[in-house]
Structures are given as structure tokens and as C-alpha cells.
């Protein structure tokens, strides 16, 4: 395995819940990210999956230094960005970039495409001629022509706008690109174009992706490794093959079972998970998944399981992972 590009240690972000207007006081907190460890290797696509509210987007923003963490360390090639001051962080920023979910909300409507793509170059002190030349080359690289360069974002479709977002993210030649649900706002026929583009660019430029998504179908297509989050914790990390073939955490298993089949002849008897995601603020002791888990025991309700190694490259946070994995023998798709 390649060297780690990013190492996250015990990373946490707690958002306070306050009451009162004049005398604000903190009554509780939301532990959006609550002590996660994660390694992103150079050149890989690591998918971070989970349902809404699990903290996957917050984790992505922490890794980019867009949010200050409550606790923990974020090492980019050994340098902790959590300990940096804003000026130092700005220096680092060109090395990690983000692709956003909403291609409509993330591009300034008053700037032309060329200016949008050249903006990060301008901020980082490139000369005008070089900026324009690079912007046109980037447009070309994402499958748009330089004839598009003087148009405004509203003149483009969702898929084309997402290409512009990608060109912008790549302008400074980053090592790490965090893509937060990059295709979930796009129509399915257009999603495939953008996914293909991201894979081509990764190969050409040697990019590392942290791919945040709730869509396990796309994750299965694009990821090398997968980390599953539930209520602020990472519950399982494994290679894609291991995770899809023999999930070791009951939540991972439920997520896989809940994906709609891709063809009607694969319909199977119902295995829907019961219950809702609990309120993150109400989490107390024990395993967070225990209230919904069909395998939960008394130990699960009192003892919080730590993420531990199950096999090489496969970690899980469940007391009963071994038993569950043995039970994976039944056929699954």
C-alpha cells in the first residue's frame, strides 16, 4: 500500500446547542464527529459512506481545514493542520481541494467560467497570461471547450457545471480532492459522465479522492476502500471487495441490504432495518447502533465498542463482528 497522504487521529467536532437569546448558555452538544481515526493513502479513492446526519460531510470539511476540530489531529503528510494558524493553513490549502454537491449553489453566478477557474490561480499569485492559459487547459481536461470560457454558470446544465466545479478544484494541482456527494444532484444519465471524468482525471493526475456519498452503487464502482460512518463514528473500514462481500458490522450489512436491486429478477425477501436514526444529541453510553441492531446484547448497550482490526486492512467497531462475519455465508449480491 502507498504511503499515507492523510492521517486522522481521534478527530472530533462537537457543535454546541444553546438556549436563550440574551443569556446564551450551552445546554447540550451535537457530536457530529466523535473521535474518528482514518488513513487516506496516496492515489486511492476512499469512500466515506453513511446516511444523512452521520457526520460524513463534517468529517470532509475538517480534513480540509474548513472547520476547526474540537479535538484530534489531521496530519497531511505528517504535518498537523489542526494545529496551524489561519495563515499557515492558507499556504496548505492549494494542496487539498473540494468538489461540492450542488453545482448550482457553488459557482458565483456573476463570474465567467474562465474567471471562476482562474480565481484560485489569481489568489495564489499566478500572472494573467499563465492564468488564462491554465484555465483553458483545465476546461479542455474536463471535457468542455475553450468556447465555453466566456459564458456564465447559468448557461450550463448541471453536469457541465459539475465539470466546471471539478476544473476549479484541480486548478492548483492538489494532491487530495474531497468530493462531497459530487453526483447526487445530477440525473442518472449525466452521473455516469461525471464519474467517468473523475476516474480519468485521477489516473492522469495521480489524484487522491475522499469520496463522500450515500449511494453505495456508485461507491462500489469508484472506491478502492470504504469507511462507513454512523452517528459520528466510523463503524467499519475495509477494502471495497471485503466490505461488499463480507461486511462485519451489522449497520454495514443493513446498508447493503437496503440498496435497491439493479434488476427485477434480483428481488429478495424483505430485510429492512427497523427504526430511525436516533437524535445525535441523545446519544448515551454503549454502541450507538444498538437500539436498531438485531444482534444487540446487554454488552452492546453498556460498552461502547472501539474500532479494532479484524483482519489486515479491515477494521470494525462491533463486539460481535466475528460471529456476524461467519454468518455472511448466505448468498448476497
Amino acid at each position: 500500500m502507498a504511503e499515507p497522504l492523510v492521517e486522522i487521529r481521534n478527530l472530533a467536532k462537537h457543535f454546541p446547542i444553546t438556549k436563550g437569546i440574551v443569556r446564551r448558555r450551552q445546554v447540550s452538544e451535537i457530536r457530529a464527529v466523535d473521535g474518528i481515526d482514518l488513513t487516506i493513502h496516496s492515489g486511492e479513492t476512499l469512500a466515506l459512506v453513511g446516511e444523512s446526519g452521520c457526520g460524513k460531510s463534517t468529517a470532509g470539511r475538517l480534513i480540509l481545514g474548513l472547520l476547526p476540530p474540537t479535538d484530534g489531529a489531521i496530519l497531511h503528510q505528517g504535518v498537523d493542520i489542526a494545529a496551524m494558524n489561519p495563515a499557515q493553513l492558507r499556504q496548505m490549502r492549494s494542496r487539498f481541494q473540494m468538489i461540492f454537491q450542488d453545482p448550482f449553489g457553488s459557482l458565483n453566478p456573476r463570474m465567467t467560467v474562465r474567471d471562476l477557474i482562474a480565481e484560485p490561480l489569481k489568489i495564489n499569485g499566478y500572472g494573467k497570461a499563465e492564468r488564462l492559459e491554465k484555465a483553458d487547459a483545465l476546461l479542455e481536461a474536463v471535457g468542455l471547450g475553450s468556447q465555453h470560457a466566456s459564458r456564465y454558470p447559468h448557461e450550463f446544465s448541471g453536469g457541465q457545471r459539475q465539470r466546471i466545479g471539478i476544473a476549479r478544484a484541480l486548478a492548483l494541482g492538489p494532491d487530495l480532492v474531497v468530493a462531497d456527494e459530487p453526483v447526487s444532484a445530477l440525473d442518472v444519465s449525466v452521473q455516469a459522465q461525471v464519474i467517468n471524468l473523475m476516474q480519468d482525471l485521477q489516473q492522469d493526475l495521480g489524484l487522491t479522492y475522499l469520496f463522500i456519498s450515500h449511494d453505495l452503487g456508485i461507491v462500489h464502482h469508484i472506491a478502492d476502500r470504504v469507511a462507513v460512518m454512523y452517528l459520528g463514528r466510523i463503524v467499519e473500514v475495509a477494502t471495497k471487495a471485503a466490505l461488499f462481500a463480507s461486511p462485519a458490522h451489522p449497520y454495514t450489512r443493513a446498508l447493503l441490504d437496503a440498496i435497491p436491486v439493479s434488476r427485477p429478477d434480483q428481488r429478495r425477501p424483505e430485510r429492512a432495518l427497523s427504526g430511525d436514526l436516533p437524535d445525535v444529541a441523545s446519544v448515551v453510553g454503549g454502541c450507538r447502533f444498538a437500539p436498531r441492531c438485531p444482534f444487540a446484547t446487554d454488552r452492546c448497550r453498556t460498552e461502547d465498542p472501539a474500532l479494532r482490526d479484524l483482519a489486515a486492512g479491515h477494521s470494525v467497531a462491533c463486539h460481535h463482528a466475528e460471529a456476524l462475519r461467519a454468518d455472511n455465508s448466505k448468498p448476497r449480491i
Binding site: S157, V188, S189, N196, G217
Partner: protein
Amino acid sequence: MALLNISGLTTVFETATGPVGAVDGASFTLEAGEVLGLVGESGSGKSVSAFSILRLINPPGKIIGGRVEFGGRDLLSLAPREMRAVRGKDISMIFQEPLSSLNPVQTIGAQVMEPLLIHTSIGKRKARDRALAMLYRVGIPDAESRFDVYPHQLSGGLRQRVMIALALVCEPKILIADEPTTALDVTIQAQILALLKDLQSELGMAILLITHDLGVIAEVADRVAVMYAGQIVESAPVQAIFDDTAHPYAAALINSIPDRTRQARRLIAVKGNIPDPRHLPPGCRFAPRCGFAQPSCVTTVQKLTAVDPTHATACMRVQAGELPRPIPTLTPELPHG
């Protein structure tokens, strides 16, 4: 005789530059007790079709043609008062976003009681009992104590269950479900789809399921109609849509979904974008994006025509036997295509 028979439905939206067609001559039937999946991408006209069936199109939108036959009557020619007696009683609808569809200042119990009080002559006490039973039936835990809560106090999954209870409390013959699980997480989506299937077999209703997600279609539909740019381009039993695909657009849609059973490095993308409804191609609307199009496809208007008793396609090349079924998979586009 189909339960619901839609023919030539045409809905336009008036704009400053003239009318823009959203649904253009859509014809399909819904049989008693079946799940018909109406699938298409954004802007394909699938939701406008559903809203047109219930005549929920407001200006600048306007239904300008077609018939919606239900129980021997054309719903499009009913008086507003008669139409109100159909909505919520014979034909109900649930929507994508339960939070914006439920009344925020009324308790969920009162909202589920309302259709009963409007459409039946049972008293308040009985209506409350039936509403409560329905809330339990759709899986609201401890519905008795939740009867008087407001929508914002519930999770997304529970809100969608409340909306289903509200739609089904009068035991309609048809439920129109417009992207009922799109706003929900995947584990909750599985719960709601299972619930809809259960209720359908229990109450014997027909469901018109509108979705962009072919996975949802593969999971629950009996028959499928595929829409593109306001027109139905293919309709068939669900298995035939996947195995015997008869329209290049339907094939492209199926192929662009990552399939976990086969690992390909590249997804098979459809080139280009959905056409602007103000500037539609004159012939086949998919022709500019289609890998099988010939010059005549671009200029010839094509009609949905049966190619076997249960299977219809609008592709004239398939109708003429020039293209095989299922439509073959094209080799992936050039990089960055």
C-alpha cells in the same frame, strides 16, 4: 378495462415566449392492483403527468388535451366540485417531501382524520378511531401518544408514514406516489417501499409510482413506462424493460446505473444533456444523444407503438426491426466524452 386510462394527455406551461410543453400526448393505463412505475429524469414530465391526472396543475400550467378516464368518466371534464370528491377518496397522492406537504400547524392526527370527515359521513369519534388505526397500520410506533404531535416533531421516515396514512385512510383505488422515497435515507427507503407493497396487497389498490430511480422500479414495479422530454418512449412489464429493452433511451438509463454484479472500469454514460423544452428536436427527442440514430430519426416524428401485446416503443428503428431487442450496449464513449 383498465382502472385508469390516460390518452393523449398534453400539458403546457405558458411563458413570455409562448407555451412550453411539459407532457406531450402521453398515453398509458393503470390496471387494478398493479404497480406502474413511471420513470424518467428531471424535466421528463413524469410529475406533471401525475399532477395532471388529479388536475392539480395551476397557471401558468394548463392541460390542453387528452382524456383521463376513471370509472367511466373523463376526469378532465368534471366540474371542480366533482373532482374534489375524487381526490383523496378514489385517487390519492403522496409527495416527495413530507415536511412541505403536511400542514405544519395541524396535528398529524387531525390531518389523517380530515379526509374521512370530508369524504364520509362518519362522526368525529369514529374518524379518530380509524385515523389512529391507520397510523398504527403504517408503522407509527406508539401512535396513540403521537396522535397530537405536529409534523416537525417527527423524523423524515415517520412523516412519510403519516402522509401515507393520510392518503390511504379512505382506502382509495389508486395511489399516486411521486418520488416517495427520494428524500429519505436508504435504510428508511427500504422500509417505506416494503410498507407500500404490504398496503397495496392488503387494500388491493393500484399504485402509480413516479421515480427517477430504476433501482426502486426494479424493486417494486409490475409494469414500467419510461418518459423522456414529455413523451412516453417505452412501456412494458418490468422484467421486459430490463431484459428485452426496446428503446435506446431506456437502455441508456439502465446501462448508466453502476451494476454491482459486474465490475467495469468505466460507466456507460449517455452523451449530452436533456433537451431544452423550448427547443426540442423535431423528430425523435432522444435522437441527438442516441448512439443508434440515423438522419431520418432526427426529422421523423415517432409514435409509441406496440411491438408485442404488452410491449410498446417509440423507436421507429426497433419497430422496423432494424435494431435488436434488447438494445445492445454501446462501447463506452471516448474519454471525457
